[in-house]
Assembly symmetry: C2
């Protein structure tokens, strides 16, 4: 009998979805970044849950306050990708019984930090005893059926873009896990990207307001994985001519003899948005984001051929379907 450590997270999700009976008239399909139920007419309630587990999601050097904050941020990121404003959160905590009074305050403060940054209120939850720290956050908001940006709407010719450069969390995790000591001006932003990640909520809401996007996903499983998910859901491929690598990542990679593209493509826990933009709205969308100090960076184009290839500095790269996956033993980190 095979164990799930060999089968991996995607296999588990497939089995679950095969067994669960689907809600009739489901506004958002199984497996998208968020879930929803219809309320009345076009109105829908949008929900997301993601669980932070100490062993796999809290690297050395991350405080309890940071871990709790991250548990909120990673859920906000999925709302951002769909262009939905989260309103409230519930939090179910699994707590090892040897945590102290101060630990609980740190966790509460971290949850409140994350919530306040994105205008979210924590309205309830549950506490339990567990072997390992477990923070299960649930976000709720409401939206309109037509506003939601699914993974499935990309069309050939759309511009594929991201909201920031990549590679920082891969590099930051390497620093924390392997105890590396690059110069402080590189170390600080890289480690910060892991300990204090941010979600691109402002960007996602603005892009949805402009009706600029045809498909969207967050990059929490890595850039390459996100491109493959958009490709599968939309039935398109991508021709990439730019992979934006953060400058600190280039320096870090140079210092340690690593491939900066590898760090940028196959990382994870990086909360940028990966979107396809209607070409006729591209300039408007880019200007709108720039005007609030945010970025929209072109990677390339969606194509009808279902392959994902990059042409970087005259070199052809096939972007593989790999990235962060729970349970699988061969890990990026």
């Amino acid at each position: 009998m095979r164990r799930i450590r060999e089968l991996g997270e995607r296999w588990i999700i497939r089995v679950l979805f095969e067994i669960f009976e689907p809600l009739p008239d489901m506004p958002i399909p199984f497996g998208d970044d968020v879930s929803a139920i219809p309320i009345n007419g076009e109105n829908i309630v949008v929900l997301k849950t993601d669980m932070l587990v100490g062993k796999t999601d809290v690297p050395p050097g991350m405080s309890l306050r940071q871990a709790a904050r991250k548990a909120i941020v990673m859920n906000v990121s999925d709302f951002a990708a769909k262009g939905v404003r989260p309103i409230a959160a519930l939090v179910s905590l699994g707590l090892p019984p040897d945590l102290t009074e101060e630990d609980i305050r740190e966790i509460a403060l971290g949850l409140n930090d994350g919530a306040k940054e994105y205008g979210v209120y924590i309205i309830g939850g549950d506490t339990n005893e567990s072997l390992d720290l477990t923070v299960c956050c649930i976000l709720v908001g409401h939206s309109n059926r037509r506003r939601i940006i699914r993974r499935s709407g990309a069309r050939p010719g759309d511009i594929v873009a991201v909201t920031g450069p990549f590679g920082k969390t891969s590099a930051g995790l390497k620093i924390l896990l392997e105890g590396l000591s690059p110069p402080e001006y590189i170390r600080e932003p890289l480690v910060k990207s892991v300990l204090m990640p941010g979600a691109r909520l402002r960007e996602g809401l603005l892009l949805a307001d402009l009706e600029a996007l045809t498909a969207s996903i967050d990059s929490s499983d890595g850039l390459a994985w996100s491109l493959h998910e958009l490709s599968d859901a939309s039935g398109v491929g991508f021709l990439i001519n730019n992979i934006p690598v953060a400058p600190e990542v280039k320096e870090f990679a140079g210092e340690y003899g690593l491939d900066p593209l590898d760090l940028s493509l196959y990382g994870g826990e990086e909360y940028e948005l990966v979107v396809t933009v209607k070409p006729e709205i591209w300039d408007k969308a880019k200007d709108a984001l720039n005007s609030v100090g945010a970025q929209l960076i072109e990677l390339g184009r969606a194509i009808s051929d279902k392959k994902i290839e990059a042409n970087i500095d005259g070199k052809r790269i096939v972007i593989e379907r790999r990235g962060w996956e729970h349970f699988k033993e061969e890990r990026k980190h």
Copy 2:
């Protein structure tokens, strides 16, 4: 520095609520059975999350399929207490990596079992690697601000009642944990109450339709605890003249020299509703439940004096504030 194993779950919840900023115009206060956000006018979205953890919530003899089903049922019970029909569920799973393919199917089937029994659809979730089985369920539904039955509405003179007899899960857990072997005709219903608990959704919805209740809570932390919670939230006391003990519990207690009232008052994981009923609607409410094969059993009356006392067979009993609490070392089970 004190550890949470000394401080207990209620202390943790108090600290969390002190630190979290409350949502303005919160339709249901912190600490009630469910949470909610306003949508438009009187309409609200109702949410509940409760986490099942292998170590504390899955007794020996409970299959994975039963554990997963229970994770849904315990959330449905809170919706039942508030008179709200759940529509959909999200499930965040924490899974030990040595679970097998078959284990995952069992968990999926159990979740689907619980959902189907109560007309709920599972619309999404998340899977993670963890040290211990963790099933974090989230239920969602919608309702009306005025329909929701809070814990705080009981008035002196109201009839306090429950939807079934008590003590079965305490006895059943004792059998499973201590390996007791009472006669099969007692053992079977007692163990079943633990392995295949049911939520009183039909009862809760019917009582809300009749506008029969002034306050309501489920008895998942035990009957005594639930009475104390209603007392605190409503600012009333209770004079009890009947504690309905299940017949199998009486026999079991006789056989093993246990106090049947103790088993009934201070257990937990028992999913009856504990409600206060408007006296003028009592007959109608009781008849309505009886006509669908359900029960409404009078315990006594709400009183203005904030004490909780029972007078059983001429003996005065003070009902203590104790029952199931996570983290606390002195446990009922």
